[in-house]
């Protein structure tokens, strides 16, 4: 394959991933507002476009025209880089998710591990944002985010290991193939619950949103960011919601396996169902206190995850069918 062809293929893939990231964020923000309206018995956006669908687009255009304010007290270089670094993992993660067998930008041999490794770059962006702002709210938010994310990382990895054990591979297509008869959510229910809780905590959403708790920290780590800089954080967050739901779908809900409908349709159906549940949780539960959050992780989730891996390595050792 010639070098020109490779570059053209890369640009097409890049364009596809970015279009998806943008459209997905536009849709998810609208969905979030509609879901919250449903739960709180309001109407949500109704004016712009059919059922308010274009409201987010209008908001995005508005954000483009907003002034970028750089306060005098900030550390300028880090302040400039922070939103870019926070957004960096989003397309990288979307690119690593296969939609159906052989469909998708890449299906890496170490897919599951790659996702965990790359998604932590966002944390670096958050810490850079919080520290460089030279604002007390931002710094507190960023420190909380780091403490929370690194804590929930460990049970997440341990429950992921239980899935790798079941499938004997870290490649997403192999993991999905191993679920053709029974999805792993039935064989590994404890790992599913732990992984789901941890991935919501990693995305800093309610009930785990102490890094940006509005009622105490204004907006947490992005207090000082305006216009497009704020929009990049926002875009990163909503892409992360999609990614976490897609990973839960691939690891536990059987991915693109399903009767009648084409595989890609099944994949998106399951993913957006998980996204709906994540939003539902956000608008139903109150925020945890930081001590409750940390103690819940270290005293409940981590021992449970270790025990789960121990027990499943005994039960599912060589030769067990399914």
């Amino acid at each position: 394959m010639s070098i020109v062809e490779i570059i053209i293929r890369l640009i097409i893939a890049f364009g596809a991933v970015f279009t998806f990231v943008a459209l997905n964020a536009l849709f998810l923000v609208w969905l979030e507002r509609k879901v919250s309206a449903l739960i709180q018995q309001r109407l949500g956006p109704t004016e712009v476009g059919p059922a308010g669908l274009l409201q987010t687009l209008a908001d995005a255009v508005k954000l483009m025209g907003k002034e970028l304010i750089t306060p005098t007290a900030v550390s300028r270089t880090v302040f400039f880089l922070a939103p870019i670094i926070a957004f960096l993992p989003a397309p990288l993660l979307v690119a690593a998710i296969p939609i159906a067998k052989g469909v998708g930008v890449s299906d890496l041999n170490v897919g599951a591990l790659y996702i965990l490794a790359i998604s932590n770059i966002a944390l670096l962006g958050i810490l850079m944002a919080g520290w460089s702002s030279n604002n007390k709210y931002s710094l507190l938010g960023a420190m909380r985010a780091v403490a929370q994310n690194i804590s929930y990382e460990i049970p997440m990895l341990l429950s992921l290991l239980a899935i790798i054990l079941m499938a004997g591979s870290m490649k997403f297509s192999d993991i999905v193939k191993a679920q053709e008869t029974v999805p792993f959510v039935l064989l590994q229910p404890v790992a599913f619950i732990i992984y789901f809780i941890c991935s919501i905590a990693e995305s800093n959403r309610t009930p785990f949103d102490i890094p940006e708790a509005e009622s105490e920290l204004v907006a947490g780590y992005h207090t000082e960011f305006t216009g497009m800089r704020f929009a990049l954080f926002f875009l990163a967050e909503y892409t992360q919601v999609f990614v976490l739901s897609a990973i839960v779908t691939l690891l536990f809900l059987g991915g693109w396996n399903g009767p009648l409908l084409p595989p890609a349709v099944w994949f998106f159906l399951k993913t957006y169902l998980v996204i709906f549940v994540v939003m539902w949780l956000r608008w139903t539960y109150p925020r945890l206190r930081s001590d409750q959050l940390m103690n819940f992780n270290w005293k409940m989730l981590l021992p449970a995850a270790i025990l789960n891996l121990l027990i499943s390595s005994v039960i599912y050792r060589g030769g067990f069918p399914g």
Binding site: S133, I164, R317
Partner: protein
Amino acid sequence: MMEEIQRIVPFSFGLGTLLFGAIMVTLPLLLSPRGKGRFRDETYESGEPIIGEAWVQFRGYYYMYALIFVAFDVETAFIVPCVTVLRSYGSWLPVIEVAVFLIVLSLSLVYALKKKVLHWT
């Protein structure tokens, strides 16, 4: 897509994203109005006069969590290869190895819990 392209996807996508991000945060400089005002560039502190800097010594407690995270995360990373081949290996050997490793891992957790290191107050 082909193997060779897949290998350079993370790197090239990373570069592309950095470029995209840089464009996104410089584009508004051309589009947006420039505001004026005495307090426009001040740090936000709920409208009150600012008291000192935010770059102060921070609660040392976070450091303990960072230390324990490193210990656990590295140890967990060691189990990954063992777990990957566990089922296809077809004997009790990797199971016992994983078990020994996890028990040692949980001993350190028990120790940390006993010492109240992981108790957020």
